[in-house]
Point group: C2
Chain length 454, copies 2
């Protein structure tokens, strides 16, 4: 019997493989002159270019001179906030929230969210991002965009205690309704905003709901040192201690930022009975002039995965996870005072295995191996800025850029080929969004969705 043709065969590339999928060490390797065989949305095999010649396939991509690597994961963002890219520049955190972002967000409609999400997905697909963890409002609209454009996403409907019990109920309802959506590309989480906007009662209720419904939790916590210190001053405990005592650390929890994680928090994170991970978005910490960054090394020492993220474009100005990868390496060296930490190999490990774990997909994506979902990007290293190649991890992390991603594939479907987006019409989205901006940006009403007061 002749085997049926594969859906897609990618030939002639160098494939980045994670040799140690269970550890958190930087064990990555490269297979040269290799091929990837894709069938039914999965990587069927990583083989040799020669072996792939023999195979029949519905579609072939000649990827000579390119690196195939797992698609990037944006482990914490607010995708629709691309609509606010650049509206709140050079401001301290409190003014950014209270004077600009939260007043504008009080105008948000589902259509704004949909258009923002579509523009964000276009940016992410072009930047090699194949999965994003989103934490925002009107998330039905985001789910619809994910379904339509073919990207993978881990979605949560954000809520504050100021919404009353309806907030967490809506978050639960969203998570249950969309779990497994878009042909399995959508996974979901409960999404309380943060310990400074969601009270202990609601956090404890969230932890119980997470257990009852086997859902993970995605929230902001100890975002910066000010928050940690304010929490200690007001409540006598750190934000991480609040997560422990409310049971959140007994769930599978993704903590955004954690630049305010203190030494006393580390044992709590290590002893958590849930799977704890942290998302780091270093660009915004620099831009807000926060005094610390995510303590990646301390988290590594206690076995907590750290995924890469951009946060929203209203603070980060882009959804460029490639830049987050490079900045994580650079800022870790700078803040630890140790040029040997964090290496380019480690940065690629954060981008792959650790980011996949952070969004609860550690068994599914994050590495290119038989049985994994076929979330693949092809990176062109022939440009003058990436030549010569003496050290492939360094070339990828420190010389290549998001714009060197030529092809983006999710679940075996090509979403961008040779830099051309196949599922999103950018000019149309930009035009439609542009017409809505005057209304969206109006702050004359004096409302805001919440007060930032850590």
């Amino acid at each position: 019997m002749t085997p049926s043709p594969a859906d897609l065969v990618i030939t002639g590339c160098t494939v980045l493989v994670h040799d140690d999928q269970e550890g958190t060490g930087p064990e990555i390797g490269f297979r040269e002159d290799a091929a990837l065989v894709v069938r039914d949305g999965l990587v069927e095999s990583v083989t040799t270019a020669a072996a792939a010649e023999e195979l029949s396939a519905l579609e072939r991509i000649d990827a000579r001179g390119q690196i195939a690597m797992p698609g990037l994961v944006n482990c914490h963002t607010h995708a629709p906030m691309v609509a606010l890219r650049g509206v709140a520049e050079d401001l301290p955190t409190e003014e950014w929230f209270n004077d600009v972002v939260w007043p504008i967000e009080s105008n948000l409609t589902a259509t704004d969210v949909e258009l923002g999400a579509r523009l964000a997905c276009a940016e992410m697909i072009r930047g090699g991002v194949t999965c994003f963890a989103d934490h925002y409002f009107a998330m039905d609209a985001v789910a619809a965009v994910v379904e339509e454009c073919g990207i993978r996403a881990h979605l949560g409907e954000a809520y504050f205690s100021s919404q009353g019990p309806q907030g967490r109920e809506k978050s639960l309802e969203f998570a249950l309704r969309h779990r497994g959506g878009a042909g399995g590309r959508i996974t979901t989480a409960l999404a309380p905003h943060a310990p400074y906007t969601v009270d202990d009662t609601d956090l404890a209720a969230t932890a119980r709901l997470a257990h009852d419904h086997q859902l993970p939790v995605h929230l902001h916590a100890s975002e910066n040192r000010d928050q940690a210190e304010a929490s200690l001053a007001r409540h006598g405990v750190t934000p991480i201690e609040i997560l422990r005592r409310t049971g959140i650390l007994d769930t599978d929890v993704l903590i955004a930022h954690g630049t305010g994680i203190l030494d006393q928090d580390l044992p709590l994170l290590q002893q958590a009975t849930g799977r704890v991970s942290v998302a780091t978005a270093p660009r915004g910490y620099l831009k807000f002039a926060w005094p610390t960054t995510t303590p990646v090394r301390a988290l590594y020492d206690i076995g907590v995965p750290v995924g890469l993220a951009t946060d929203g474009a209203a603070s980060n100005n882009s959804l460029d996870v490639w830049e987050a990868m490079a900045l994580t390496a650079l800022i870790q060296k700078s803040t630890t005072g140790d040029p040997r930490w964090l290496t380019a190999r480690q940065a690629l490990h954060h981008a792959g295995v650790q980011s996949a774990r952070a969004v609860g997909l550690g068994d599914t994506i994050g590495t290119l191996a038989a049985g994994r979902r076929a979330d693949i990007i092809l990176v062109d290293l022939t440009g003058p800025h990436t030549q010569p190649v003496h050290d492939l991890p360094a070339t990828l992390v420190h010389s290549a850029r998001a714009s060197d991603v030529r092809t983006t594939i999710v679940d075996g479907r090509v979403l961008m080929r040779d830099r051309a987006l196949l599922t999103i019409d950018v000019p149309s989205v930009v035009g439609e969004l542009g017409r809505r901006l005057p209304t969206l940006l109006d702050r004359s009403h004096g409302r805001r969705i919440q007060d930032y007061d850590t």
Copy 2:
């Protein structure tokens, strides 16, 4: 009499203009729906798109949806070191120099330098860099590449005191012979390496030669805090004090890095009778885990221009000045603890006026205005990562990337059009360089060109 046609007219773009060409404030503005008229290598006028319709021109570029801005200036690099991109990763400064870079550089030939410079110019032109200040060896080869590929450059032949008086004589001979070369695109400097490798006698001799021949000086000084402290311990003075007492501060001097500039150095820099400027290359400081960055704010306060730079690609991994612009803004916010410093407008001012001054071309380039050399880049902001545009300086600095530069023009000549390089054949350079790398990288001989011992 009908006026003769302009050489080039660029229409429909938004033009970034520096309204205050003398101050160091961030006074930039944007003229929408504008046009640039270029004749004889100069900007003849910045006018309206409508007015430009009437003009005849030998060449027209329709730049609708694009921003025209002054080409970027790489104020301190070692262009040929792109050949060593990625050879010395994750190392402290001393090991980087002594164990890898200086041993490899003992193998350098003029052909290696030529190929490296050609690859570097390709990378820079593609990244919107129209002028670079180079400080390296075998600089005749770099000058030849500059002549051939059409970029602008400020060149100096580096020397150490270990070379004897021949070092500084060669540097002078190079500077005099190439000054005004390549149709005026080449300017030159005397290029002692640094106070820790060039003794006071040689520095004082260099200062006298600079005066006698009206040449500027380009050198490394107080690169990092360790160097400043070692200098204090050994000589009782800082590297900047050495520059003062040897007369270097009485010349027009470009100081690379200066992350070790101490408070006590500031009055010396302020009182210098020469035009002093500093080049900052922040990526490398993070990568080497240096404890401080260039004190841009303190230098601003005393009126010293700070230009943007990448250093060589062996430390920085790229010659991406666009990234240096964004990182300068981010790292300044982070290190001063003030999110309001340094704004995107200020970053653009560093990229334009201040960088031009740093390389001694403050009257010639760095702004788009009648009478300036036509060193122009066109930046495409239609990508999803640069939309919508609420704040054009922020979009340029924090969202756009080097890869958004579509067209690069120097002295009115188009060197890259729609991302295609017109004067350099990258695959041929990469191939030829690749064949030479095994010999270049050989360290079995145990030699090095110098010892790093601050």
